[in-house]
Symmetry: C2
Subunit: 198 residues, 2 copies
């Protein structure tokens, strides 16, 4: 589910496409090292090897760098786990979100950016909306299998399963744990099966 | 549950206590207007009527202003709703968190501050830890009444009930709704009663 989990896209194309990936990688590295408050076009230019004037011209500024990193992440092939059962799918999803966020030091910086830039906020919200839409198949498959009542709000289920992880890490300052991911997924699966998200 | 919901404390004491409240009120107003990134000691001094050198000496800087606003919030008398039933208590709690956050334009700024200052982060996490501890009585009362199994993780229940609100507003960029608060509380109550947070 995470913006920083995307592998560098290898696409045909020339220097423009290569520069875009180099700038994205440099943006992620700088966000990981210094956070959004410490992100500068100069440092991204130096790290990426793309000339500073090119970065300014194409990306505009630090908010443009964040927006484009999220746009590139949107282009990946991410799909949620497909284990064959609803509860196991939801558990695997919650674990994946936790692991990806923890393994990607830039993750929290994208959330921080949204507080400081309306453009970054719109990009972050758009990125998560797309992730949620993709993850909803976990619920629609469960409906098809008869595990969950028809009419279940798939988006609400997906968000409820991952929300405790974000809340605990970003608001409560806790260290993420697989136990919490599993507990959250199991509770939401149980409630969804009982029709409480219908 | 919210940092900004606290009423100004009226305490005996002289100018120091009055200044502290005036500076806290000015900090909340400045956070609401300009966010943490736009918070300045100068603006807080002007708005509070407390001399700038006094603010610098006692609060140190913008992170100190945030830390003290949260410390004052910690001193309030907040207790979670007590309706007589577990599901209704959890629903009232989720609604209150939503309403308080929505009515307090500085709320999101406290979260933003935590991304930019380790001191503000520690204060935010401490504030929420204390709120969670107070809210846990909703679960312990339910255990006493036999509505929820003994051994239920009260903190996990409280956090799971409010997490979707924060996730939807801060990460997904959605507008909060009472429907979501109610749905989240009902689902968590159902799962807790089934022993899924034990």
């Amino acid at each position: 589910m995470d913006a920083t989990a995307v592998q560098p896209t290898s696409r045909p194309g020339g220097r423009t496409a290569r520069n875009r990936v180099a700038v994205r990688d440099a943006t992620l590295a700088e966000l990981a090292a210094h956070g959004y408050a410490g992100l500068t076009v100069e440092a991204v230019a130096t790290r990426s090897g793309v000339h500073k004037t090119t970065v300014y011209r194409r990306w505009g500024g630090v908010d443009g760098l964040v927006v484009d990193a999220l746009a590139l992440a949107d282009e990946d092939e991410w799909a949620p786990p497909d284990t064959g059962s609803f509860a196991a799918d939801l558990r695997a999803l919650a674990r994946e979100v936790m692991t990806t966020f923890a393994d990607s030091p830039a993750s929290a910086a994208f959330v921080a950016a949204a507080f400081q830039s309306a453009r970054a906020a719109a990009a972050l919200h758009g990125f998560y909306a797309q992730r949620h839409r993709r993850a909803e198949v976990v619920v629609t498959r469960a409906v098809t299998r008869g595990e969950v009542p028809a009419g279940t709000d798939a988006g609400a289920v997906v968000k409820a399963a991952v929300a405790p992880f974000y809340y605990r890490v970003l608001i409560a300052g806790e260290t993420p744990s697989e136990e919490v991911a599993d507990q959250s997924a199991a509770a939401v699966a149980h409630a969804a099966q009982a029709g409480l998200y219908a």
